[in-house]
Point group: C2
Chain length 389, copies 2
């Protein structure tokens, strides 16, 4: 198989999102032909829920034009829903991808726990989008490498090490290697466990090739291709629905809102900078997995408790002259607030990942950028409103 051919035509689903857009710019800058697909779900949901991202960004089609004007590089765009197989088929037939990156799932745990309608949307959108991609690959390009964004949240917090995707079990003198068992903590995380089971199933049945990137919470705003042009920035949410924890803390810090630690704050997770998300997807795309293989990476860089994150933001924020308070609030989720947590994450480093760490300088830079957009913050979006129970 021609490895070069695999790597040069990349189709990105969920291309308008926090990770999708910087991914498109990155691959275009690296000489890939890039096709960007989105149905604007995030924008519609933000409108419905009265949530605004911190930095206003033009539509995907507009950003693609701006990027072309500045760089001369093309990002082809299609606006539509990949749960509609007729639409997806057209995209596959016209673009003929060698790699697809699947970010097109509903990505919020609180959104999935809000009510029945949003939960069933999360369930069907996340599973049918993945299902349709699998079937389109089989129908139109069986060699295509599927890279799906997963989440470390599928594992929950088991009392043993979280191995990288698979677990060899010794039981009554016999051995078997299983897909690592999942214990997700929200309906969203459940769907990400279910889609992984589906990808693994079709790898076994149809010899498709899949990389699943079980990512921890991402923080950060800027990637190399944004060129100091805020119109090319990502959609950055700081609200309780679409904002990740460190991004929320930064916006709380700059507006004088006490950092919202849920419960005891001993919840431990693996984090990474958005720059490393892009680097990991690049490594996966440039090192496609063999046919029939379901490859899983645990995509994290550093491990922190929520308390440690809050204390970092407080310390660096105070150095910048902010007066950062921390407030433990009743946990709206059902989760362990103190637990063992030891994930293994060596696969991407072995492929060459050179991680960005969460230094004080990095935090200060992000806080200063947030301060620039402080007047856009809506305090009402900060407190959690969705209860799990």
């Amino acid at each position: 198989m021609d490895k070069g051919a695999i790597m040069k035509r990349i189709l990105v689903f969920g291309a308008d999102g926090y990770l999708g857009w910087p991914t498109c710019m990155h691959f275009a800058s690296k000489g890939f032909e890039v096709c960007a697909v989105d149905n604007y779900f995030r924008r519609r949901a933000c409108l419905e829920l009265d949530i605004k991202p911190l930095i206003e960004v033009p539509s995907l089609v507009e950003r693609s034009k701006i990027f072309r004007e500045k760089t001369g590089l093309e990002i082809k765009t299609y606006i539509g829903d990949i749960c509609d197989y007729a639409f997806l088929s057209k995209v596959f037939k016209s673009f003929k991808p060698n790699t697809v990156v699947h970010y097109a799932e509903q990505p919020s745990a609180p959104y999935s726990m809000m009510n029945r309608e949003k939960a069933v949307f999360t369930l069907t959108n996340n599973l049918v989008s993945t299902f349709n991609i699998i079937h389109a690959v089989k129908e139109f390009n069986p060699h295509c490498h599927i890279i799906k964004l997963g989440t470390m949240g599928v594992y929950g917090t088991p009392n043993i090490n979280i191995e990288e995707g698979y677990l060899e079990v010794e039981h009554k003198g016999r051995k078997h290697t299983f897909l690592y068992p999942k214990t997700p903590g929200s309906l969203y995380h459940l769907t990400k466990s279910q889609d992984g089971d589906m990808l693994y199933f079709y790898c076994r049945m149809w010899d498709i090739r899949v990389t699943d990137l079980n990512q921890g919470p991402v923080y950060g705003i800027i990637t190399d291709e944004m060129q100091n042009d805020e119109r090319l920035f990502s959609i950055f949410n700081y609200d309780d629905i679409f904002g990740t924890v460190l991004n929320r803390f930064m916006v709380q810090a700059i507006t004088g809102y006490p950092l919202t630690v849920y419960g005891k704050g001993g919840q431990t997770r693996g984090y990474l900078n958005i720059k490393d998300t892009i680097a990991c997807v690049d490594l996966a795309a440039n090192n496609p997995v063999d046919k029939g293989k379901y490859r899983i990476f645990n995509q994290v860089v550093e491990i922190f408790t929520v308390n440690e994150l809050a204390e970092k933001v407080q310390r660096v924020g105070n150095q910048l002259g902010l007066n950062v308070k921390i407030n433990s609030i009743k946990n709206p989720r059902r989760e362990a607030e103190e637990h063992y947590y030891n994930p293994i994450y060596t696969g991407l480093k072995e492929l060459g990942l050179n991680p960005h760490l969460l230094t004080d300088d990095v935090l200060a830079e992000m806080l200063e950028l947030c301060i620039k957009y402080k007047k856009r913050v809506n305090n009402e979006a900060i407190l959690p409103k969705v209860l799990w129970g």
Copy 2:
């Protein structure tokens, strides 16, 4: 909690099916108030695929009338689709069940592997029906006990014992108990693994109570309440889509068709008589599980290889004067044809199950009944036509 109240109002989804109808008659005969719900999916699919069951049975509504005329017992019926939450809500509000039995999933592995449309129907029907039941229970009756029909097929054929639902893993000196990891072999089986993960999730989040019956392939026609009236018999399929293996073998034997063993025939599974399905559901309903618990039983009675089943049918068939041949055909599925298989199935016996075994007499009785309807057999429905790959 009043245990009596839990047990006496039972709502059966998929009530027109092979297991649903005898379940309804059983509980009505035992003094339960029974509500039977179906959307006639099986009948519509049989019509579309030109498949006829061996014995023609009246509609659910008609059978319910016939049963009332013969016994004086009421089985309330609703025809509709529980993936439609408005319909499901009406049923819950009007009937107020204490127990629900969920047979309303698309139950055929080959159907789920036929094409994209049938696969996506299986995925969404099976997950959304389960999802809606969970939400209806939470909204209308949080105490209600959900009994879901599962399948042993979710486990696949691991090289270690198949424990009853959960697996304690010792790994690098630490221990954790996981839901037993699943390795399903068809999209249908995948959805049954995914619905189990969903039920387990909502048990943890919402304290619902669930029993999952991981059943092996069922055989047989007659249950105690059918009263020698063929209008009260079950829908009995012998085709490659909806027929289970032993039922198919019996119809092949009586028509002189060589028994279709797939590949080497070393595929090993746990089987049970339809009478024991009813007995197991009865035991689950009469022994509801605690709130917040996801209880799993491996619902099998005896273990056989496909070759052993074929040889049994051949021996008993020949004693009845049939000339039964066995023919190994190319396996249309992707599955291990020789493998370790040791499932644990003690839970239902501990509750009091007194199993029916597959004796020569039982086989002879079933073969003789099939012979009665021999003229209805369509040979074209016998050979497998759906390939996995």
